[in-house]
């Protein structure tokens, strides 16, 4: 089977899509951020709680709508991020997401896969005053 078909839809991804982890809102998050893929209509909102030193992620929740790849990726990332240093979040890239998902993502679907990661990163950057945007919008070359 070629890249791009149901190879992408291994059990783990379908499981996270159907039963998303950490789905919902956090009452008093350190920061909240929203992002979208306009072409696909995928949307993700992430609530993040940092520890007192603002160096480590304590808790993440997400809400969203969209394709299985974008939503499963958000669910898996929400688990991955809990306990992670903010610096490590900032250093994440597309390869880390591919590794986390455990499947090859076809080129056209990469922006679905990385949406949650971009939302978390932009949310952190805005919180630390390193970026000034309202929403994250993923483009083809992200």
């Amino acid at each position: 089977m070629g890249i791009g078909g149901s190879d992408m839809y291994r059990q783990q991804i379908l499981d996270h899509y159907k039963n998303p982890r950490n789905y919902g809102e956090i009452e008093d998050p350190t920061f909240t951020h929203i992002g979208e893929n306009p072409m696909c209509g995928d949307e993700i909102r992430m609530d993040v709680v940092l520890d007192e030193d603002e160096e480590t992620i304590e808790q993440v929740a997400f809400q969203g709508d969209g394709c299985a790849i974008s939503q499963a990726s958000a669910s898996m990332l929400s688990q991955e991020l809990a306990g992670m240093a903010v610096e490590d979040l900032k250093a994440m890239d597309r390869d880390d997401i591919t590794e986390m998902l455990g499947v090859d993502i076809s080129p056209m679907r990469v922006k679905c896969a990385v949406l949650a990661e971009k939302v978390a990163q932009d949310g952190a950057d805005i919180f630390f005053g390193e970026k000034d945007i309202d929403r994250t919008v993923t483009e083809d070359d992200d």
Partner: protein
């Protein structure tokens, strides 16, 4: 292959002209159902392209040598052939070769719209316009202060003609409508719209990207002032589009692009414009593509445009019936039994269109998923994206069955 529709077309014979349809992915023969995006190219057209480069290639018009003369005659004749294909009696003078339908839209929007429109003018579009028309007129309206108005689309995917009559007024300067919707499959009453537009001294621009490839289109019967379409959606190559315009309107229009080929006389102070259609074809034009498009017209006419229309309609109706048998599939556009173009857009309840398209790819079924360049229409439909199966002369009912079976695989996977 037992083609129930083969009384209309000898599909088996036609498929021999398209070797690409023999390709296999993961051991499955490709089922190509993305024809509204681009059609495959038959051998005679591929041969025409190869032959042109093997035997005739030269730049047109400027050369006095034999090759240039041959290339020029073939290129100019191609305009006449395309004119004949859409019933334009003004022949080459009414046929401008562009890059694609989008460029044809932009040509009129810039060459006519930018110069003629003002704050008191209105451009009437439909809610089912392709971005090629919608975005172009929207932006020209912003530059000129004109207003864009949109004819409503009813629940059944057809235009609200009462609304059309209401908003096309003496303030209307241009009505730009899609002939066959690339998302809904709706066949719009363009002749009736032309009458309404002309009653108010407005021009009408018909986007024929999804109609010229698959049905007889006669610009003079429609009484269209402009008609645009693309070569690559009608068995021709990419890189060529067509703009038909009534001669007297084109004569009055300023050029859109300046440069070589489009001039008659140039001094350091000024320049005068070449005759139609060359006035609108600046620089070295799409020579090979134009000649290949003329060949594609021959190819389609040999099959017969009325038969192509009926073949596509039957496949679309069959698909609609199959998909609607399942309670979890929503289809868009005209209902079963109502006239439509050869495409069906749909959504499977539990599966995002992009996931569906990815999974169908496993069965080598090629469909499109997305907004099909009609984002405002999708907003109105209440979905961000839809899946679309679209047909051409080489598709069969068996291929529709494969599509339906692959959709079932997706349903199982996500159950």
């Amino acid at each position: 292959m037992g083609h129930a529709e083969s009384e209309l077309l000898d599909v088996e014979r036609i498929r021999e002209d398209f070797p690409i349809l023999q390709r296999e992915f993961g051991g499955e023969q490709v089922v190509y159902l993305d024809n509204a995006a681009t059609t495959q190219t038959p051998e005679p057209v591929v041969e025409t392209i190869a032959d042109y480069y093997r035997t005739t290639n030269a730049n047109v018009h400027r050369g006095l040598h034999q090759l240039s003369q041959e290339a020029s005659v073939a290129y100019e004749d191609a305009h006449d052939r395309v004119a004949e294909f859409i019933g334009a009696s003004g022949e080459r003078e009414e046929i401008i070769f562009t890059k694609n339908t989008t460029e044809s839209e932009n040509l009129v929007a810039y060459a006519w719209g930018l110069n003629e429109l003002g704050p008191e003018d209105e451009v009437v579009l439909t809610e089912m316009e392709h971005h090629a028309s919608l975005v172009t007129w929207q932006q020209i309206a912003k530059k000129t202060g004109a207003t864009c108005r949109y004819i409503s689309v009813d629940e059944d995917g057809t235009l609200d003609m009462d609304h059309a009559r209401e908003i096309i007024t003496d303030d209307t300067a241009m009505v730009s409508v899609v002939h066959v919707s690339n998302t809904l499959g709706t066949v719009n009453p363009v002749s009736e719209l032309a009458d309404i537009a002309h009653d108010h001294d407005s021009y009408i621009f018909v986007d024929g990207a999804q109609s010229v490839p698959n049905r007889p289109v006669d610009v003079e019967a429609i009484d269209a002032d402009f008609l645009a379409f693309s070569g690559h959606k009608m068995a021709g190559p990419t890189g060529i589009g067509v703009l038909y315009g009534k001669k007297h309107i084109l004569e009055e229009m300023e050029p859109y692009l300046y440069g070589g080929e489009m001039i008659k006389k140039v001094t350091f102070e000024d320049a005068s414009w070449n005759d139609l259609p060359w006035k609108f074809e600046a620089g070295t034009p799409v020579i090979c593509q134009g000649i290949a498009l003329a060949e594609a017209c021959d190819y389609l006419d040999d099959i017969g445009m009325e038969r192509i229309q009926r073949h596509e309609e039957q496949l679309a109706q069959y698909t609609l019936e199959q998909l609607r048998e399942e309670g979890d599939v929503e289809t868009y556009g005209p209902s079963v039994g109502t006239e439509r173009g050869g495409l069906v857009s749909f959504n499977l309840d539990s599966v995002h269109a992009h996931d569906l398209s990815s999974i169908l790819n496993d069965s080598a079924v090629a469909i499109r998923a997305g907004d099909h360049c009609t984002q405002p229409l999708h907003d109105k439909m209440g979905v961000p994206a839809s899946a679309r199966a679209s047909f051409y002369i080489y598709n069969t009912r068996e291929e529709v069955d494969k599509l339906v079976s692959a959709i079932d695989d997706a349903r199982q996977l996500f159950a």
